[in-house]
Symmetry: C2
DNA sequence: GTGAAAGCGCTAACAC
DNA sequence: GTGTTAGCGCTTTCAC
């Protein structure tokens, strides 16, 4: 900036102001300075600004990126959230620092002005690690689990309830829930599911499941059909599980949906294009990402911020 | 650091050295300083270090994150790459700055020490935008397209050739390629595909297609079957297209694979769990991400870096 | 093994 | 509308 100032015949601070479009600087002066900057290939130094302003203008986004072919956070889930987050954060002037919880925490990540955590993790362990960073924090996950935190999540309770209502409307009597309630979001879905069922005196079976893959879903359902051959409805906490479940049902000569109704969760392209096309509970991840970004910005600005629950709806297809 | 120095009875520079585990500092001094830092909740200021070192210790990763339900870079593609990149970059001390090409370029992104571009884009437009940033650059895409750039890509030519070989082995006579050659990677696949076919005097049909969704794939194949009812083999440049294609084939009473052989690309969970399970060309995205990260680090360190092609193989399932 | 001095490039505060 | 002064928190260089 000092060099530009010399060339343009002004002082460094005027250059600074001109490049930031400060109204304090004469439009012609600004135009001249910008032109000089362009000519000389001037590159703004963000670190210097960040040092001076005592902020980094970054938000760290913590994602689980374990590279397994059938992963936990499958398909579009994190990428749609990331899309919404990035779009919103970028337009607010913040950069997105992508991080996983593996390995040590880098200085740049520690220096983030705020943190968005995608998924609380089983038993909220991810949340507890990130809290120790002592930065403004917004979490994507189960809203009901944390009064003390700002959490954005979709209405998992209602999602579960919608599925139960459909099962009841179809006259199903022996529903099963597939998912690990150690994850808060899954627990909420189960609670909503059971709350509706119990009004009719029905309780869902909840076989233990610790993995969220197609094959895990298939394995559990194979087992299940041994002991509970009359099962007539399956609510899977993810589309992946649902697809595995359908596979096991077919193997065991159950027709879907005639003999067994199956509903998944997340409404992924994977489920939508499956044959038969999977019924599933839809979440709007992009919108959720935008909201997460808004909240973390507000939190950074010192505003008081509330948790939020996003609406959810059931997409009925062929299962 | 000055405060810590006062408390620990040393100078600021010694604190700096102690916290960086410099061998220059006495182990006991270091232990004392670290303890004081812990007690006082000292937070390292990355911006100050970056200013002084004249590097940002970040690498910008440019991804297409258009939030459409059936997106171009579908499913695990970007996320697996991102996983590999993040893992490797983090262990090298770099943070990952996630960016899309939409909107203006933020100061922090401009200040990145290097850039990884995921996908050249149609007609390499994405590449040209990013080149203007004037930072070290590594691209994921079509290696053959850019001698002047460092490109990491999987062996698309060989991928296409493998599919052609399988079609020939099955005695197929009227193969069709589904994909837009405006994208370099797709063009390479088509070239490999045709190179093998032409050795038997066969030329693939390449109906125009401008979108990479299930419905686009279905639409093209519906059209195709009108004019080319004898089509007996389809090579789709993505699993999404392949699934759409199969849908249209079934609608038109073609059996897969008896009447028409179909092979997709990317070997996504979506394809693998489809019914029928889709045959597809596999790419190892995580490994690719690690390699991209290694190359950008080398480039930043001023080493000379070559483009690289990763091996590819055909996974034969039921189609 | 430790320290003093200097400066990275920017901007807020306060003149004028 | 523009300029002067000062300092953000760190690390390199050179001295001891």
């Amino acid at each position: 900036m000092a060099d530009l100032a010399r060339v343009a015949g002004v002082s460094a601070i005027t250059v600074s102001r001109a490049l930031r479009d400060s109204p304090l600087v004469n439009p012609e002066t600004r135009a001249r300075i910008r032109e000089v900057a362009r000519q000389y290939g001037y590159a703004f130094n963000a670190s210097a600004r960040n040092l001076r302003l005592r902020r980094s203008m970054t938000v760290a986004v913590v994602v689980e990126m374990k590279p397994t072919p059938e992963r936990q956070m499958s398909g579009p889930y994190p990428l749609d959230l990331l899309g919404g987050i990035t779009q919103q954060l970028t337009s607010a002037g913040y950069s997105v620092l992508l991080t996983s919880l593996a390995g040590e925490t880098l200085p740049n990540v520690q220096a983030a002005d705020g943190v968005i955590l995608l998924g609380q993790g089983a038993h909220e362990d991810a949340m507890h690690s990130v809290q120790r960073w002592g930065r403004p924090l917004v979490v994507w996950g189960a809203v009901s689990r944390h009064q003390s935190q700002v959490v954005v999540g979709s209405d998992n309770f209602r999602g579960g309830a919608l599925v139960a209502e459909r099962f009841l409307a179809l006259g199903r009597q022996r529903p099963v829930f597939l998912g690990d309630p150690a994850h808060g979001e899954f627990a909420e879905r189960l609670e909503g599911f059971n709350s509706v069922l119990q009004s009719r005196g029905i309780t869902a079976l909840t076989p233990a499941i610790d993995n969220f893959t197609v094959s895990a879903g298939a394995a559990v359902v194979r087992q299940l059909l041994q002991t509970q051959p009359q099962t007539d409805a399956l609510f899977a906490a993810s589309d992946l599980l649902a697809i595995g479940a359908i596979r096991a049902l077919i193997e065991n000569h159950r027709r879907v949906p005639e003999d067994v109704t199956v509903v998944g969760y997340d409404d992924t392209p994977l489920g939508a294009t499956y044959v038969p096309p999977l019924s599933s509970v839809h979440q709007n991840f992009t919108e959720a990402g935008v909201l997460l970004a808004r909240k973390i910005c507000d939190l950074i600005d010192g505003q008081s911020v509330q948790s939020a629950t996003l609406p959810t709806h059931l997409v009925v297809r062929s299962t």
